[in-house]
């Protein structure tokens, strides 16, 4: 049996049709696509399968040396002394770097610059970097690293949100909203109490989503190369070369113009390479110090310590429903275990609340959240960033409501879909929404209407939906500049060089970039040369995160290519003596639409234009539309467009053991417009694979030894063998449906597909287990013992459920920020912005400005200027 089945369906007939089926009209806009929507081979595919792609760890340079980092072996302690004397005398050892050599802090968000490249005086988790050593060979560096002696004064550890709430001192960081709580958020949209009064039924649920990590096959690696003119080049497996560039400049106290970052192709990222990392900065420092290229390739254990993965989230949800299944109000509370540093955590915190409103109509909404610091590797963004946890909660909650109200779970969703063009209660502007078509596709494909609730004991179907951003509306640091820039250089050979700061992390961004340019200029992918992810050579793109690349880079590329097309068309039209609008670009030719034989090759057209205009180049850029939200916190959630997904999962459960298998997955994803169906399918299947791992087994969990005997708090299994993630063997057959509901903001209508399809997988598995055996597991991952425990409870006549104890940690949120909804006549601002005492976050533009005013980044800019003089 084939494990793969793909279908495509449009919501509305697209204005352009695929070439074979289309009837060409006489205007350029009516012409069929050359490339868009066809399954072309990815531009980096050949190099990847033949091993020609050079990842960071493949790079070598003359005189290159190797670096290792001695990491903390205690979870929370003051550093008393570092003794490198024994290591210094060992063979091949060249030098050390310690924290005091790099006192400037850094971090991805301007409000959480809380990391040092090497710990200065304190370590905060087992794995925190303390001192680096370079040697001629990696083995020598390894041996020397082990010989470094570090003395610690151990501090009390915090292992969970509950402990962080209960133990405000000692603080893991000396900043944050209070004690060991990094962030506290409370926001209310509309008359919540009124909403609950309107309800016929009020449902309440408590769920837990365990943390998990990205598990990219490529372990992070960096090579830093000092250049002869006092500059430094850092080649690194990073998703965000631009932010790394800024961090290097700040910590190394070098002007940005003396630092060059080259993002090497990533062997998987999934959000795990989106932060600037300590090892990247330390490698650069070591290279500058030794005057030699320095490589560090992390071990798998160290990748587990880099983490920045899924936050463990405890959720409490209370929702009012009418008898017809519509929601009247919802109060969501989330508690995030952030680990030891800020990372993207403030944004993650807001994201656990932001996207609850973009799928089903939710007229009134309150969201409270805390993020705790704990002595564990820092959490951050993993595929779906902050939204899979509440999405799990919401979709399971809805499944339960459907049962209580006697409505089919598919119908309760279909009947309450958000309308296209809606501004939600929390002021998110939804564009196109193909979720209805997605639900219909998976309902039909899975035989839902005939099979749901009717399968034999042990077999079950579960349905869930999701939505995700196509890029965050705001950049990570406040500015008015484009989030994406693309520059084209047209050569008389007919080759087009495309320069863009985007980063290929396996998702196919290079292919999308090339395809957009090739489409508009009517040339082949082979005519395109890409230069990407290089801060010296390419215009800034903010990076491969928040599913922003297809939409933002795509739009920037489209603008640049259209400008080039218009330039060439003008000169060719003059030469052919026809109106420029009659000029068309296709099949590597530029020609008269009325008389296709009247024209020339693309290369000849470039010659015509270059002869007239001189060297040819154009630029394009993209800035997302402004969001209607004006309250503090409204900066997280807005996006130019939202993608939608529906998933049905079929499971087979053995009630005697609780062991279950997922036997089939149907997934329909509204991608707006498919640029390349092969890549879209790859992302859908990859998301399902990762989602099933999260649903069934993946967990980044920790062990604490008996406190009397040891202060240890360690990752339970930092290894690929014991951190359980599905293998090929565990992957069920998947049926994918590519739904195309073009969004006006997307290039050609395209939306994201890299993250969205993951979201519904986890709740769909939980809902399917309920259909199979009538037991609820309100927790992710769902281990067999949990299913068995829920069935034990059922057999004893108790509630057939396994999950966290109902409730939420006892936290005083004070007065929430109150915002009138659009339906209530709100203008997007909070009524009580000042009284609410909402603390600083990365959320809004105002907050970002504030953060910058007193923030360290500005200082570094000043430093840059000084250094540059």
């Amino acid at each position: 049996m084939s494990n793969r089945d793909i279908h495509r369906a449009g919501v509305d007939a697209p204005s352009k049709t695929d070439k074979q089926s289309g009837v060409p009209g006489k205007t350029r806009e009516d012409q069929p696509f050359n490339l868009i929507g066809k399954p072309f081979r990815r531009v980096d595919g050949r190099a990847k399968v033949t091993g020609q792609t050079r990842f960071a760890d493949d790079l070598t340079f003359p005189r290159m040396v190797h670096m290792r980092i001695r990491r903390s072996t205690v979870p929370h302690a003051l550093i008393k002394s570092i003794d490198t004397s024994k290591a210094a005398g060992m063979p091949g050892v060249l030098g050390f770097v310690t924290g005091e050599e790099m006192p400037n802090t850094f971090g991805i968000l301007p409000v959480s610059h809380d990391e040092h490249a090497l710990c200065m005086d304190k370590v905060r988790f087992v794995g925190d970097p303390v001192v680096a050593v370079a040697a001629l060979t990696e083995d020598q560096a390894y041996a020397a690293c082990a010989a470094i002696e570090v003395e610690y004064e151990v501090l009390e550890t915090i292992a969970s949100v509950d402990e962080a709430v209960a133990v405000p001192e000692p603080r893991i960081h000396d900043y944050g909203d209070e004690g060991n709580l990094h962030k506290k958020v409370s926001m209310e949209f509309g008359d919540l109490d009124g909403g609950f009064e309107d309800a016929d039924v009020i449902m309440e649920d408590t769920c837990y989503f365990e943390g998990n990590t990205h598990l990219p096959m490529e372990q992070h690696a960096t090579v830093a190369v000092p250049e002869d003119d006092g500059r430094i080049t850092v080649c690194s497996s990073t998703q965000t070369p631009h932010y790394l560039h800024r961090s290097l400049s700040k910590v190394l106290e070098l002007p940005a113009s003396r630092v060059r970052v080259i993002a090497t192709p990533n062997g998987g990222g999934f959000g795990g390479k989106s932060d600037p990392f300590n090892h990247e900065i330390v490698a650069a420092k070591m290279a500058l110090k030794l005057g030699r290229p320095v490589k560090i390739a992390l071990t798998r254990e160290e990748v587990f310590y880099c983490h920045r993965g899924r936050h463990p989230v405890h959720m409490h949800m209370r929702t009012g429903f009418k008898k017809d299944g519509s929601m009247t109000a919802q109060h969501l509370q989330t508690a995030l275990d952030g680990g030891s540093y800020g990372s993207y955590g403030v944004a993650s915190t807001y994201y656990t609340g932001a996207l609850q409103t973009v799928t089903y109509k939710l007229p009134r909404y309150r969201f409270d959240s805390i993020r705790a610091f704990t002595n564990k590797p820092p959490c951050g963004p993993k595929r779906g960033h902050g939204t899979p946890q509440p999405r799990f909660g919401l979709e399971v909650h809805l499944d339960k409501a459907a049962h209580q109200l006697g409505i089919d779970p598919a119908d309760i969703r279909l009947q309450n879909l958000v309308e296209p063009g809606t501004v939600t209660a929390n002021y998110l502007k939804v564009g196109s929404i193909g979720l209805g078509k997605c639900i219909e596709a998976v309902v039909e494909g899975s035989g839902w209407r005939e099979r749901y609730g009717k399968l034999p004991e042990g077999r079950g179907l579960g349905l869930a939906c999701g939505s995700y951003l196509c890029g965050a509306g705001l950049p990570i640091y406040w500015n008015h500049m484009p989030q994406s820039g693309v520059q084209l250089q047209l050569d008389r050979s007919g080759c087009v060089a495309v320069f863009c700061g985007e980063t290929e992390i396996g998702q196919g961004s290079d292919s999308v970039l090339a395809a957009v340019v090739a489409e508009i200029l009517g040339i082949d992918l082979q005519d395109i040369r890409l230069c990407v992810g290089d801060t010296d050579l390419t215009p800034v793109d903010l990076g491969s995160y928040s599913s922003r690349v297809t939409l933002m880079v795509g739009n920037a590329a489209r603008q640049a290519a259209e400008r080039a097309r218009d330039l060439i068309a003008k000169h060719v039209a003059e030469k052919l003596e026809i109106p420029a609008r009659q000029i068309h670009f296709a099949d590597r030719r530029v020609f008269d639409l009325e008389n296709p034989d009247n024209g020339m090759t693309f290369a000849e057209a470039v010659v015509v234009a270059e002869s007239k205009d001189g060297t040819l180049g154009t630029t394009g850029s993209y800035i997302p539309p402004r969001s209607p939200g004006r309250y503090r916190g409204s900066g997280v959630g807005p996006s130019p467009a939202y993608s939608y997904t529906a998933v049905v999962v079929e499971v087979e459960v053995d009630p005697t053991t609780g062991i279950y298998d997922v036997v089939h997955v149907w997934c329909a994803h509204d991608v707006g417009k498919c640029i390349n169906p092969a890549l879209v399918m790859g992302q859908i299947e990859g998301s399902i694979y990762m989602g099933l791992g999260e649903a069934m087994m993946e967990e980044q969990v920790f062990r604490r030894l008996p406190k009397k005997r040891s202060p240890a708090l360690v990752h339970r299994h930092p290894s690929l063998l014991e951190y359980k993630s599905p293998t090929f063997n565990d992957m069920p057959p998947v049926t994918s449906y590519i739904i195309e509901d073009p969004d006006p903001n997307g290039p050609f209508g395209a939306k994201e597909v890299g993250q969205g399809p993951l979201l519904p997988v986890m709740p769909a598995v939980a809902n399917a287990i309920f259909d199979a055996v009538g037991a609820r597991v309100d927790q992710i991952p769902i281990a067999p013992h949990m299913v068995r425990a829920a069935l034990d409870a059922k057999e004893k006549g108790k509630e057939p459920r396994f999950g966290p104890k109902p409730g939420f940690p006892d936290v005083d949120f004070g007065a929430p920020l109150k915002v009138l909804t659009p339906d209530e006549g709100g203008d997007g601002k909070a009524e009580n912005q000042d009284e609410a005492k909402v603390r600083k976050g990365t959320g809004t533009m105002t907050e970002r400005k504030d953060a910058l005013k007193d923030g360290a980044w500005k200082e570094s800019q000043r430093e840059n200027k000084k250094g540059g003089n």
Binding site: A146, R709, V714, T727, D730
Partner: protein, 339 residues
């Protein structure tokens, strides 16, 4: 990358040389019989050796031989893939075939050997970690440390027996041949190869080479093998049941059950075995017998899955094995590996 520490590698071509080299190193050498476990362990520095004595080139250690008397001999250096591809093993010892086919992954099976699998080091999530990690817990009793963190008050090490072939070979009363330079050879039952101790888990002396596994005539007994783990491949077992029964008519004459991965050796649920002697293997009897099987197993929190649930699964999996021997539906979902 984790790197191997430096070591001497010897590749003797005959058994006498191998045994002599082993004796000459006086316990400071280890045998390399595939290395799919030993080499990663050495990379993580929780096993070490000044010298490795590779057995791959030693003549006469690889191959499956029908001895003619009903017995079958498997050379210790026979790869797991050789066994999986052996029609003889598949036909005559399907329970052993199943056990071997479930080990790790096809790639590692092509390197791993039956002798290596039998002598596999015990495992524990406090022990199978890299050096820095183990330093964070001040090491453990099994390597460098003082305490068994699985049971900190316990005087012993609770690392678990991880060999997939040991329970079923013990159950069918297979034997192994041990050869040493000093004493020549001795043959002992597989079940006598193991100690109930996570550290000193083998009764094989450090100077002995395990050369051969001898399987008994399969016509005398019916056997079964069940294995529990998270994924359908690669994972070590968290519970293995090897069972074999000898019948007198339709009554059980003798019954062996050995449980892997729930103790430091292939433990025996004695009550279950004794209870079944003289009985007919019907549904009720099996259910009653399986209910007694928890005794003898001590699943602890040192491998995958919740320990308490693994304890519950002992009963279910013993039942599955007995039901299979009795020709009944096993009553639990089949694992994802080949059966």
């Amino acid at each position: 990358m984790l790197r191997l520490p430096p070591f001497q590698l010897h590749n003797p071509t005959n058994l006498d040389d191998a045994a002599k080299m082993l004796a000459d190193h006086g316990g400071k050498a280890r045998l390399l019989a595939g290395g799919t476990d030993l080499l990663p362990n050495m990379k993580r520095r929780h096993q070490s050796a000044a010298a490795l004595i590779g057995l791959r080139r030693v003549e006469g250690l690889r191959g499956i031989r029908d001895s003619g008397s009903g017995e079958t001999a498997i050379g210790a250096m026979t790869t797991l893939t050789d066994i999986v591809r052996s029609e003889l093993i598949h036909a005559k010892y399907p329970m052993l075939w199943r056990a071997v086919a479930s080990i790790s992954s096809p790639v590692l099976q092509s390197t791993g050997t039956i002798g290596g699998n039998l002598c596999l080091d015990t495992r524990c999530t406090y022990y199978n970690q890299n050096e820095e990690w183990r330093e964070s817990i001040s090491f453990c009793m099994k390597e460098e440390g003082q305490t068994c963190w699985v049971a900190p008050s316990s005087p012993r090490c609770w690392a678990i027996s991880a060999s997939d072939s040991a329970p079923v070979l013990s159950a069918i009363e297979a034997k192994v041949k041990l050869v040493s330079a000093g004493d020549g050879e001795r043959i002992i039952a597989v079940r006598d190869l193991f100690n109930d101790d996570g550290i000193d888990y083998l009764k094989k002396r450090p100077d002995e080479v395990l050369t051969e596994v001898i399987l008994p005539d399969p016509s005398a007994f019916k056997a079964s093998h069940w294995k529990l783990r998270r994924r359908g491949s690669i994972d070590y077992s968290v519970l293995t049941v090897g069972a074999a029964a000898w019948f007198d008519g339709d009554k059980v004459q003798k019954l062996n059950i050995h449980l892997g991965a729930v103790n430091s050796y292939p433990a025996v649920p004695e009550k279950t075995c004794e209870f079944l002697i003289g009985k007919i293997l019907d549904e009720e009897t099996i259910a009653e017998a399986a209910g007694m099987s928890r005794q003898g197993s001590t699943p602890m929190d040192n491998t995958d899955f919740l320990a308490r649930w693994r304890g519950q699964m002992v009963e279910r999996y013993v039942s599955a094995a007995l039901r299979e021997i009795a020709g009944l539906d096993p009553g639990v979902k089949k694992p994802r590996h080949a059966m």
